[in-house]
């Protein structure tokens, strides 16, 4: 790697501003205009002033660094300060550290820039470019070196070596890929993806405080976030969140005459409907229930489902109705599931309908 212009040189054209340096479509492009001196170049007092400004900025930076250390030691992280003109507070430690440190850094930069602009020479310099390509001779020489070496190695003639090497090189990355196999805990388990904790008789409890729900607890126009009672038995390391991500439901209740259709005959209990809380689009939890229109809106991508009409999609990118969970009550009068969902919950996947 060589730079093509070993010695920077300034062009004499730069001095006059009238010399022609290039031609374009028959036109002359004039050279650099003459250098105009700055105030600081001609007025020593202006130069002195600029010098003081720069030094002042560097000193301000040093002062801010000192203040930073004081603030770090003195201000507890829990203190707050009022924000002027806002009816708000702001964390004292974070503000003091940020402002002092920020200014300490900024002033170094501002001082250096001011120094360069006002006091360092501002006469433009011209450096020549050279074509980036090599000469044909250089190319030929390079090719020759390569082919000589290739011949000497015998790579071309010794077929068996060449082919066995290519084979070995082709195979050796395989272990690197194979070892990634155990990123997954085991073979893809479609059953796990398609099933949830719900089963016949699973009691419905509220989320997050786990109270069992009686039908009377769900008012008309109300919504209750819920989960299966046995979810709490699943430990965190056993995949509590995985189970939760599939089993979360919402209960809504509407006047029975408002229910236009359901995914299964009589899957409600006295107007109480249970739907998966996981959007069928890309899986956001979905609970923006608009009780007058019975619409359920997803806050992520605005898919809208009509819960009074089998949870069908009425707007947005989701392609599938929200799965409904058939429910009833047990002998103690608490709401229970009648079975698992009859379809996988959450986003679609390739094998979903297999």
């Amino acid at each position: 790697m060589t730079d093509n212009s070993p010695t920077p040189q300034s062009s004499s054209a730069a001095e006059t501003g009238t010399d022609v340096v290039a031609r374009n479509q028959g036109h002359d492009i004039p050279g650099l205009p003459p250098h105009r001196p700055r105030q600081t170049d001609i007025d020593p007092r202006a130069a002195k002033r600029a010098e003081r400004q720069v030094a002042l900025m560097f000193l301000a930076s040093a002062l801010m660094t000192v203040l930073f250390v004081i603030a770090f030691v003195q201000i507890p992280t829990t203190d707050t300060w009022p924000v002027p003109f806002f009816n708000a507070t702001i964390n004292a430690s974070n503000t003091a550290l940020g402002v002092t440190f920020g200014l300490a850094i900024f002033f170094i930069g501002a001082g250096a820039i001011q120094w360069a602009k006002k006091l360092m020479p501002d006469k433009e310099v011209v450096q020549l470019r050279h074509p980036l390509k090599s000469t044909q001779q250089e190319r030929d020489e390079a090719a020759e070196v390569f082919w000589d070496g290739a011949d000497e190695s015998g790579f071309g003639q010794r077929k068996i070596i060449r082919r066995s090497l290519l084979l070995a090189m082709g195979l050796f990355p395989i272990p690197l890929v194979v070892m990634l196999r155990d990123l997954a805990p085991g073979p893809l388990d479609l059953g796990v993806l398609k099933e949830t904790l719900w089963e016949e008789g699973s009691r419905i409890v509220t989320d997050p405080l786990e109270r069992p729900v009686r039908p009377a607890d769900v008012p008309i126009g109300g919504v209750v976030s819920a989960m299966p009672a046995n979810l709490t038995e699943v430990q965190h390391e056993e995949g509590n969140l995985n189970a939760r991500a599939k089993a979360a439901i919402i209960l809504v209740r509407m006047a029975p005459e408002d229910i236009q259709s359901q995914q299964g005959e009589g899957w409600d209990y006295q107007g109480i409907l249970a739907f998966s809380k996981i959007c069928t689009h890309v899986g956001c939890p979905i609970a923006l229930y608009q009780q007058r229109t019975h619409h359920l809106l997803c806050p992520c991508h605005q898919s809208t489902f009509d819960l009074s009409d089998s949870g069908n999609v009425v707007f947005g990118p989701a392609a599938r109705a929200l799965p409904q969970l058939p429910i009833t009550v047990d002998e103690e009068g608490f709401l229970i599931a009648r079975s698992d969902f009859d379809q996988p919950v959450g986003p679609s996947f390739w094998e979903r309908d297999r």
């Binding site: 212009s5 974070n94 939760r244 996981i278 979903r352």
Partner: protein
């Protein structure tokens, strides 16, 4: 002082004895860079990246990339006793129990937003000025790679604290993975170590976020800079600037101070912002659980366009032979970004193929001088911004009191209609600007001074344009659409590439067909002579008229007459002198 110089000399000798580095230093320190604010946009990205590395290293000392469940017992009261992952708890500790931790977290996140924003504006500058042309195509390619990696790094970082927004983002990412035909389910199964969310993803993303992606970014940034160094920086057209030189200032001392100072300025401003303005208040979002969500669940800004694409896409899903294909997710989240990045990466080769341009370019294009490219850029930008708006449609609905559904429908249609309109308008504006440039060369600059001719006609006086401007205008490159090669050769054999050639010629015409050429040297000489004559004619009259103080400034009424009669001009001049003289007398 001399002691320092001596010590420096000794050190330099010591190094040079071992590396023969003198020549390298001589060349490097004397290297000339052109000076323009728009050449520093990439530097903002570079410096933000350095700030990210520094602050990120600090954060790794306390962050625990673990999804083990803990009960929070730190100093943030509203979350005391809540179950959460160790990742989230340690992020809370960094924010509330480690002095300066919150500042560093906020510096890190702000710098990440600035990093991608700076890359974007740098990319726009490079695109619109044609800096990606030969010999710099591969540096453009590296830049596109850097942008892609920046998005990956940003998204991984956004997901690490395991707060409610992080988790929601990961959930969406997993939904997108699932939509990939054939392999999607496997991909998700491997990435998450089983089902979503599992207990592995944070530690895996951590490795990606702090080692893999930044490592590659660092390598690519280095290559990016070496290429700039080696191929030298482009420059804008102007007097003294040619395709064979670089005009600017030397690295030592000017750019040591300017670029070094700029690093401190960027770092300082980022730190100030981090000290004053909250970003990503993870404590307010709460820990992630898959059944909670907040209104306004959005990604960081640079993923916003993909979020918008997801929101706008109509709900198409098909089941073929029992296999489910979620077009509603796969198209906006995988196909669209794939196409956008591929088109962006290949654009330099597309343009050079269309225009047949194989020359080296070190003088930048003014955007107007390449109307089709500029139009394509604005079209792409419009497309991007519309998707971006889509990504925030719920907040726009809330603050401008319109229906989310209406915005979504507007964008669903607008995404097809508005970008082509933007293209046409931009191209027209560029061509008008080219015409104005030509006018300027031929008729000079409009001075804003109006003259009334003896017969009552008003004309505007033109003055000569500055040397700098003239040099810029005259540097306009010559472009010509490719001619259509014959479809048959002399022997009547059909050219196999005829179809391709026709397409290429058509595209080339579309690219350059309506270019406004520079005036020929003859036209320009005539125009110069005319202008000189006009100036010669009007200047004395103007002087007199100004002396006579007739009319409002800049507008010369009755006495300021333009005509060819030197006698009248002389008379007017005499009259003016008389008046001046009288005034002088009155004053004394």
């Amino acid at each position: 002082m001399s002691a320092t110089v001596n010590a420096g000399k000794k050190a330099a000798t010591y190094v040079d004895d071992r590396f023969a580095s003198a020549n390298f230093f001589k060349r490097s320190l004397g290297k000339v860079f052109p000076d323009h604010w728009s050449f520093m946009l990439g530097e903002i990205a570079l410096y933000s990246f350095i700030v990210i590395l520094l602050s990120g290293t600090f954060l790794t000392f306390w962050f625990k990339p673990s999804m083990v469940e803990v009960i929070y017992d730190g100093s943030y009261a509203p979350l005391k006793g809540v179950e959460m992952s160790e990742a989230y708890a340690s992020t809370l500790d960094i924010s509330f129990d480690i002095r300066g931790g919150l500042l560093m977290r906020q510096i890190h996140h702000w710098a990440a937003l600035f990093f991608v924003a700076a890359i974007s504006v740098h990319l726009l500058r490079v695109f619109f000025t044609g800096a990606f042309r030969k010999p710099r195509e591969f540096n453009w390619l590296i830049g596109v790679g850097l942008l892609t990696l920046a998005l990956v790094a940003g998204f991984a970082g956004y997901s690490l604290p395991d707060d409610l927004l992080s988790g929601t983002g990961l959930r969406i990412a997993q939904g997108i993975m699932l939509s990939i035909p054939l392999v999607g389910t496997y991909l998700s199964w491997f990435v998450f170590g089983g089902e979503f969310p599992g207990t592995d993803i944070i530690s895996r993303l951590y490795a990606v976020h702090i080692l893999l992606v930044p490592g590659i970014i660092l390598a690519l940034v280095t290559a990016h800079l070496i290429m700039v160094w080696y191929q030298k920086h482009t420059q804008y057209p102007g007097p003294g600037r040619t395709n064979e030189n670089v005009v600017g200032y030397r690295l030592m001392p000017i750019y040591m101070a300017k670029a070094g100072g700029f690093f401190f300025a960027v770092f300082g401003i980022t730190t100030l912002v981090a000290g004053l303005v909250t970003i990503n208040p993870i404590w307010a979002y709460g820990p992630y659980t898959p059944d909670q969500v907040t209104a306004g669940s959005q990604p960081d800004w640079y993923i916003g366009w993909l979020e918008g694409a997801l929101r706008l896409m109509p709900n198409v899903e098909t089941v073929i032979f029992g296999f489910t294909i979620s077009w509603n997710i796969f198209i906006p989240a995988a196909v669209v970004p794939g196409l956008v990045f591929t088109a962006m990466a290949l654009y330099p080769w597309f343009e050079s193929w269309v225009t047949g341009d194989t020359k080296e370019h070190h003088i930048l294009d003014r955007p107007r001088n390449n109307p089709t490219r500029t139009g394509i850029g604005v079209m792409a930008l419009t497309f991007y911004i519309l998707l971006w708006i889509g990504g925030g449609n719920d907040l726009i609905a809330r603050f401008f009191d319109v229906s989310v559904n209406a915005i979504t429908w507007f964008l669903r249609i607008g995404i097809f209609v508005l970008p082509p309109i933007a293209f046409v308008i931009t191209k027209r504006i560029c061509l008008s600007l080219q015409r104005r440039d030509r006018e300027k060369l031929l008729h000079g600059r409009e001075t804003g001074q109006i003259l009334r001719l003896p017969h009552g006609e008003f004309i505007e006086i033109h003055g000569p344009i500055s040397v700098e401007e003239r040099a810029v205008l005259l540097s306009k490159p010559e472009v010509e659409p490719l001619a259509l090669p014959p479809t048959e050769d002399a022997n009547g054999v059909k050219n196999k590439k005829a179809g391709r050639n026709r397409l290429r010629s058509r595209l080339s015409n579309w690219f350059y067909g309506d270019n406004i050429p520079l005036p020929t040297p003859e036209e320009l000489a005539a125009a110069d002579a005319h202008l000189a004559h006009e100036i010669e004619q009007t200047t004395p009259v103007l002087d007199e008229a100004t002396a006579l103080r007739v009319g409002t400034p800049g507008v010369i009424a009755d006495e300021g007459v333009l005509h060819d009669d030197p006698k009248l001009v002389a008379a007017a001049r005499d009259a003016a002198r008389t008046i001046e003289a009288e005034r002088g007398e009155n004053k004394s």
